[in-house]
Structures are given as C-alpha cells and as structure tokens.
C-alpha cells in the first residue's frame, strides 16, 4: 500500500500539522519508504497471538483516594504563553 499525498494531508490534519506544498511531496516519499519498510510485518503469522501492551505482568496499580496539595496557581500558570485572570487564554472556543 503506497502512501499518497492525500494520505499525508489527511494524517497531517489529524495531527494538527501543516506542510508547505513543496514539502508534501518529499515528505510523502520518505513516509512511504518507512511505511513500505514496516509492511514487512504483514508476513508474520500472529494468529492466536495476544498483543503485548505491557511488557511486565503488573496488575492493579492503584492509589488510595487521598487528597494531596495542588500547585499554587502562579506555578500552574508560570509557563503559559498567554494568561489572564488566573486562566490560560486561547482564541474563542466554539464548537
């Protein structure tokens, strides 16, 4: 399966990335080569094989429902590129 420019544009949208027109082609080629390479996995027979999402057999790692101190608001906001009234500011959120 070859990666097309259209795929790249769709995936870029999903990932909130943008590519200049002249970049897209080069990028598509490189991504296509990588996807072509990882395609080698399709040859492996994995019938009845369980996926390994976690490499260690750990289970049930919980914390008790206890309150810990929160950050001072200034510390929470200290890295904000734009802040106002104790909040993080962004362009109007509309749905």
């Amino acid at each position: 399966m070859a990666i097309t420019i259209k795929d790249v544009e769709h995936v870029a949208k999903l990932a909130r990335l943008e590519f200049e027109e002249n970049e897209v082609l080069a990028f598509t080629e490189k991504l296509d080569a990588i996807v072509g390479y990882v395609e080698m996995l399709s040859a492996v027979d994995v019938e009845d094989v369980e996926p390994t999402y976690h490499v260690l057999p750990l289970r049930n790692r919980f914390r008790e429902d206890e309150i810990q101190p929160s950050l001072e608001r200034d510390a929470a906001l200290t890295n904000a590129p734009d802040r106002r009234g104790g909040c993080f500011r962004v362009p109007r959120v509309v749905e």
Binding site: L14, Y53, N60, D65, A76, G86, F88
Partner: protein
C-alpha cells in the same frame, strides 16, 4: 404519501462525576468551585513527563454502579487513550475505556403510565473529565482546569427508550440509584450529571427510518425530555416530506424550546484509540466484587417493595417515598419516631410534598428537623391535635420552623376531647337549631353534617371531631 405511524428509538449517554475526594489520576481535590486553576497539579495539567496513577475508589464506584444496575462486571479491564485536540483537554487525549469497559449488559426497570419496562444498559465505563472554557468579553476564551481529571462514569443505554416520558422515568431512576449508592452527587447544575440523547424514528412497518441525531449536553431532565419530543416531531416531519434527518450533533436551546445544529457527523471523528501504556491492566476478582456488593445499601427497588409490605402503604406511595435516598431515609427516620408508617407516609405524601413542590424546595432546605415533624405527627396520633389544627401547626413549622409543642400551646390548638365540655356545646347548638333537628328527623343527612360544623365552630375548631360525632348522634337519638 400515506400517513404512517412511527416509533421512536432513544438511547441515552449519561456522564456522572464520581464522588471521590481526589481526582482520577492525581491527588488534587474534586471539590466543586474554588478559584480558577487552584485545584491543579502537574499531573492533571498534563505537564510533560507526568504519569497517571489510578484512584482505586473511582474504580470501586464504577463497579458498584454496575452492580446496582445489574450489569456484568469485567474480570479483566484496561484504560485506553482517546485522542483528539481541544483546548479543555490538557494531554490532547482523554484516558477512557474503549473495548473493555468495567461493566456491561445491565438494566434498569422503569414504570410509566403505560406500564413497566426494562431499559438495557449497554456499558458503564470510567474516564476523566475535561477542563472548562469561560468566555471573556474580549472574545477570547479562558481555560480553568479545576474539573480536569475528575473521575467520570459514562453510562450508555440501548435504544430501548420509546418516548420522553420513559426517558424521564429512566433518568429519575438512574439518578436516584447513583445517589442511593453515593457514588455521585448528581448535581446537574454543577455539571456532575450530564446527559446526551440519541434519537431516531422508524416507521411501524419498518420501511422508513430517520438518521440518528445526537443532542448533547442537556442540563436538565426536562430539557432531555423536551429535546426527545422535539426531535421525534422533527424526524417524522422530515420523513413525511420524503426527506431525512442529518447524522449530526445538535444542541438544545432552552429559551426557544428547540434543538439546533452544532456539527455534522458526516466526518466521523477519528479518536485513534489505543491501550494506555502508562496504566497496567485491571484484574477484578470475585472477592473484590463481593466486598463491594456487601458495601452497597438497599437499592430503590428493594426498598420500595419493603416499604409497601412493612408499612402497609400503597405501592405508588412506596415508589414516591423511595424516589430519592434522602426522602426514603427521611421517611424511615419519621417512622422510627412516630411508629406508624401509614400516618408518616400520609403526612409526607400530602402536606410536606405539596409545600416542597410549591416552594420549589428540597428536603435539606427544611426549617425544621425530622424530630420536630415526628412530634407533630405524634400529637395527631395521640389525639392531642385534630387534623385541621395539625395542618395549622405544620404551616407555621414549614414557614418559620420551631417546636411544634410550643406552637400548639401558643395558638391554643390542643384538641378538646373532654366529653363534658363537648356535651354542653352540643346541647346549646341543638337548642339553637330546632329546624336542623326537624330536618334530621325527616331523614336529611346533610343536617347532621351542619350540626357537627356548628359544634366545631363553637369550640373554635378544637373539639375532637370523632367525639363530637358520637355525642351529637347520641343526643339526637335521645331527643
């Protein structure tokens, strides 16, 4: 086009914030309110490098919810990432559950005017809440992440609901149950209970059906019900015109009483779900489930049945009294003091509920204690007060609060049961109303009632009506 009949298919998605002390993955408080961005830490702000640690209580609350709704509890479960970009979502993914929810295949039994019905619950899963955006007057949005990371359960029903009334009954039952088992405070006004509805209609013969529309973020049960009615009408009208509804998400406009378009679902959101690598799987063994089941209080259905049999009250009344845990507890605390379930039930069902409804108040806003209310009912029971006087006392109690005994004394409302005194009054009333005696003898029953009224009036309402009845009947017989 021929007129068809249609049936409506409604499925609900309910989000309830869980009543844990701390957030889903960090130790920040879940307390509502507080200054913006003061209940936040590196973890719930999604700062780079932080990791989530699951709040055990949240998992237990979700399991208990599943048990209360007769669901199957998963023995193995996991968390997944739901990826999407939004300003209120700090990690650009929500930690949620995709293909292995904690609970599946439950149900809730409801009762409406058209009878009893079972509504299937497809799944209950756990996830984290997002932050909030506030609109600033300059047109920008301000983000407050205090709610970000508060644990939520999402309850998804099958499309078994056929109309707004059933949806209302289901939601009431659901809310009552969540409150009963104390897993959520269900405060819709604070957003701790939220409801989305999915609606479409199908012609009775199955030949035409509309596309499902979703109405999101309904802030009251009433709004949910109205939205279902509105959408049902809208879908049928479209089908009748030979058109169809769009696959879309809509919103409810409370002021205009209608839904409006929010976004199309033509392009399905691609959430790119995958197992959360930072959280290991859950293994829920039988012992754990059993322990959580033992912790559950008596559930509404069981309590309703018990009230009916134990206190000999009608099933309908038992249903009303068990509609909320608060009411059921209140009722039982009255019974334990008054020792008469029927009497306590009558007082709640009539006087108390009427006034609460009129004033738009909740039980916890009452100006008097359950003990004081019980004292009042006890005075009715032992004959100290007659019904009219008791209602007067109740009115004052409801409006001003205070001690019912003190009110009775202050207003001189103690019921007169002294036969000597009442006999004197009866005699003087009879002496003053010869015509009524005549009428009575001629078989006019109304005359008796009139005479009782005259005696009561003469005693300023204090006479025990039962005693008045007896003495009057006796006096007339002896004439």
């Amino acid at each position: 086009m021929t007129e068809k009949t249609y049936k409506t298919l409604v499925g609900l998605e309910i989000h309830a914030e869980l009543a844990t002390a701390s957030k889903m993955f960090c130790g920040c408080t879940t307390t509502y309110g507080g200054d913006v961005n003061t209940h936040c830490c590196p973890i719930c702000l999604g700062l780079p490098g932080t990791l989530p640690i699951v709040n055990k209580r949240a998992i237990e609350f979700a399991i208990q919810t599943g048990l209360a709704f007769n669901a199957k509890i998963a023995r193995k479960s996991k968390m997944d990432r739901k990826n999407y970009f939004y300003p209120d979502l700090v990690k650009a993914f929500q930690i949620s559950q995709y293909d292995m929810p904690l609970c599946e295949n439950g149900h809730v039994d409801i009762e409406t005017a058209s009878g009893k019905k079972r509504i299937g619950i497809q799944r209950i899963h756990i996830e984290e809440d997002t932050g909030k955006s506030l609109h600033a007057e300059d047109g920008s949005s301000l983000l407050d992440y205090n709610r970000c990371g508060v644990p939520l359960i999402e309850i998804v029903t099958h499309p078994d609901i056929s109309n707004a009334e059933e949806a209302g009954a289901f939601l009431e039952r659901l809310k009552a149950t969540l409150e009963y088992i104390e897993v959520s405070d269900c405060k819709m006004e604070q957003g701790s209970l939220r409801c989305d509805v999915n609606v479409n209609v199908v012609s009775e013969d199955g030949t035409v059906k509309s596309n499902i529309t979703e109405v999101k973020n309904l802030n009251s049960f009433k709004a949910a019900m109205k939205a279902i009615e509105f959408e049902t009408r809208r879908h049928i009208e479209l089908l009748e015109k030979g058109e169809n509804s769009l696959k879309e998400t809509r919103r409810w406009d409370d002021a205009k009483n209608e839904t409006f378009h929010m976004r199309s679902k033509e392009f399905v959101q691609d959430y790119r779900y995958f197992p959360e690598p930072d959280i290991v799987d859950f293994e829920i063994d039988a012992d754990w489930i059993e322990r959580l089941e033992l912790e559950l209080p008596e559930l509404p259905e069981a309590r309703k049945a018990r009230f009916a049999s134990e206190y000999g009250i009608p099933e309908y009344d038992a249903g009303v009294l068990t509609a909320t845990r608060q009411m059921a507890d209140y009722f039982e605390s009255l019974v334990s003091r008054v020792g008469d379930g029927k009497l306590a039930s009558n007082w709640i069902m009539t006087e108390l509920m009427r006034r609460l409804k009129d004033e738009g108040l909740e039980l916890d806003a009452l100006r008097f204690t359950a003990e004081q209310f019980a004292d009042l009912i006890a005075m009715v029971k032992d004959g100290t007060l007659n019904q009219n006087a008791a209602k007067k006392v109740f009115r004052r109690l409801f409006e001003e609060g205070g001690d019912p005994k003190a009110i009775v004394e202050a207003e001189g409302l103690v019921q007169l049961s002294d036969t000597g005194l009442i006999k004197e009054t009866v005699e003087s009333v009879l002496a003053a109303n010869p015509q009524s005696i005549e009428d009575y003898k001629n078989g006019k029953d109304r005359a008796f009632g009139f005479l009782v009224g005259q005696v009561m009036k003469a005693s300023k309402g204090k006479a025990n009506p039962q005693v008045v009845n007896e003495l009057l009947a006796e006096a007339l017989k002896n004439l």
